[in-house]
């Protein structure tokens, strides 16, 4: 790996190594430009927030970065590797893992199995159609650990679809962490959660960020101020401002376009 790639020059506030970067990202939907000219750098060990009003294009940016949607133009680099044309499953295998705005779980599998499915691939248990399910027992301790971390250990035999909304979200986080991502994209991980859950998830995110890069979409600005090292503000598909919380929150355009309405 070349430590000083071109992208690293424009690293974030504290100059940590850039692990995910995008240049000139753009996406058109039948004439409508949802994302335009977006540059992003996410540094190792940093938490980067992507904020902006509804429909600003935040989820679309996630879809572009993870290659769930092809970009109309622009380049994406993950760990010094160009992934602009890489299929989404491969991107995930390279260590860029996402969660979804609408909680993405496997509803008819048990909570434990939800996490074990995520662990199977790295443990070489993806294709064995001839082995019994007990082959997965080796994964149970690790899955159990992850469930404990998000406070779901007691619910492991429940059907995932029967969990409450907030618990589905933390289950999704547990399965995401099972992949040991190098870069984690979280799309509104705390949306719809109660106060205590928000605090729990914030702590989990802080812990994960110690050896991972995180890009998260979040509407709760208190959380953003508290958690994030760097903030990019998106409006109508374009970057309006970027910087640390102090810089961004004092920016006049951001105040009028976004903060002004978000305080209440």
């Amino acid at each position: 790996m070349t430590p000083a790639s071109a992208a690293s020059e424009q690293s974030d506030s504290n100059g940590s190594r850039v692990v995910l970067s995008a240049r000139g990202l753009r996406r058109d939907f039948a004439g409508f430009v949802a994302v335009r000219n977006v540059d992003l750098d996410v540094g190792h060990g940093k938490i980067h927030a992507l904020i902006g009003p509804n429909g600003a294009g935040k989820t679309t940016v996630f879809n572009l970065l993870t290659r769930f949607l092809p970009s109309t133009s622009g380049t994406i680099t993950l760990l010094d590797q160009d992934i602009t044309r890489t299929p989404p499953a491969k991107v995930a295998r390279l260590g860029l893992v996402r969660s979804f705005q609408i909680s993405a779980i496997f509803p008819h599998l048990s909570v434990l199995d939800n996490v074990r499915v995520a662990l199977q691939r790295q443990n070489g248990l993806g294709v064995q159609f001839w082995r019994s399910l007990s082959a997965l027992d080796d994964l149970t301790p690790r899955a159990q650990e992850l469930l404990e971390r998000v406070g779901l250990a007691n619910a492991r035999h429940h059907m995932a679809g029967d969990l409450s909304y907030g618990r589905k979200r933390v289950l999704e986080i547990a399965t995401t962490l099972a992949l040991e991502p190098k870069v984690l994209l979280l799309d509104e991980p705390m949306a719809g959660m109660g106060h205590e859950d928000v605090a729990v998830v914030a702590e989990i995110i802080r812990g994960v960020a110690e050896n991972c890069a995180i890009l998260m979409v979040e509407h709760n600005l208190t959380v953003v101020a508290d958690l994030c090292d760097w903030i990019t503000v998106l409006q109508r598909g374009e970057i309006l401002a970027a910087g640390d919380y102090a810089t961004v929150s004092s920016d006049e355009r951001v105040k009028t376009a976004y903060m002004g309405t978000a305080d209440d």
Binding site: T66, F68, P87, P88, A89, K90, A92, R93, V97, R98, S99, F100, A104, I105, F106, P107, H108, L109, S110, L112, D113, R116, V117, A118, Q120, R121, L125, G126, V127, Q128, F129, W130, R131, S132, L133, A135, L136, R156, H157, H158, M159, T175, L179
Partner: protein, 322 residues
């Protein structure tokens, strides 16, 4: 759904399930001594067909509307090889299975690129192409089909002209195949298939190349459907256009839905029900398709999960929550 960790933690339930399986096998062993074996063999062939189809629909979430091509195609391949090339029954069946698997690779390759109804339409379109190929191709015998396929000797020494020998051969193939399907479903690979059925995008985001998994499941399902078709050609001693026609694809969907999608034994009961009804109606003068349609409507309205699906759901509801 009958496949959660919940069940694996309940030993009583597992014991009941095993007892029922053993009972079912005993019934199947005793059955030909009281029921006409020819009818039973047809039921078993269609039951295997439905189980193979259910591997795809019930456990991978893919609705194929072209499974007749694999069932009927294998019937033709097997019938032709046995009749014209003098293949032994087992070699003919093997050839049928291979042929169906190759067809499965081709159809699956094009179909898995699309989702939902488009997937179903591509499988239907390709199966129809195969149907027209079968009308035109000289080896299928056109409208007449391939008639008079000899029973022959299994492994060179078991005379399949004896109905009971044939029955136990069919039963053995059926039981082994259902075991194979059960193993696939309850394997690490099967777990990934279920995750794709449950939430495809999430499976991709976990790093699974779902297209490869879908294609693998499709080919397995096609090969097992082919096994059912080849077996049936041996039993009834002919292969005709009926086996490759789109109505056959519809029938296997009906059997699976009636019995219960995504349950292991549902499709078996569904197949038994449909084949029995057809046999009854064939001699009664009632229009078969209309009665089947009505049965289907009633079942969809009354038991949305299929007959076995509803029974399982009933016991699940009674199970105390942890």
């Amino acid at each position: 759904m009958a496949d959660t960790a919940l069940e694996r933690t309940s030993p009583t339930r597992a014991r009941v399930e095993w007892a029922l399986v053993v009972l079912g096998i005993l019934v199947l062993i005793a059955a030909p001594f009281t029921i006409y074996p020819f009818f039973l063999m047809q039921v078993l062939c269609f039951a295997l067909f439905a189980c193979a189809f259910n591997l795809l629909l019930g456990y991978t979430g893919l609705l194929s509307f072209g499974h007749a091509a694999f069932f009927g195609g294998a019937a033709y391949f097997c019938a032709y090889a046995v009749k014209s090339w003098g293949f032994s029954p087992e070699a003919g069946i093997l050839l049928g299975v291979l042929g169906a698997a190759v067809l499965g690779v081709v159809v699956g390759f094009f179909a898995i690129r699309r989702q939902g109804i488009y997937f179903a339409m591509i499988t239907l379109a390709l199966a129809q192409m195969f149907f027209f190929f079968c009308i035109q191709a000289p080896f299928t015998g056109g409208e007449d089909g391939i008639q008079g396929v000899p029973h022959g000797f299994l492994f060179g020494f078991i005379d399949l002209n004896k109905p009971l020998a044939m029955y136990f051969f069919v039963l053995a193939v059926f039981l082994i195949s259902v075991f194979i399907i059960w193993r696939i479903v309850n394997s690490p690979f099967g777990m990934i298939l279920k995750s794709i059925r449950e939430n495809e995008t999430r499976a991709i985001s976990l790093g699974y190349s779902v297209a490869n998994y879908k294609l693998a499941a499709f080919v397995m399902s096609a090969a097992l459907a082919g096994l059912a078709g080849a077996l049936k050609a041996n039993v009834v001693q002919f292969a005709t256009l009926t086996d490759v026609a789109w109505q056959m694809s519809g029938e296997v969907i009906l059997m699976t839905l009636l019995g219960g999608i995504g349950t292991m034994v549902g499709p078996i009961f569904g197949a038994a029900l449909v084949v029995s009804l057809e046999n009854r109606l064939a001699t009664s003068g009632f229009p078969v398709q209309i009665v089947l349609g009505a049965v289907f409507m009633i079942c969809v309205l009354l038991f949305r999960k299929g007959i076995v699906g509803e029974i399982l759901a009933f016991f699940d509801r009674r199970k105390p929550r942890e």
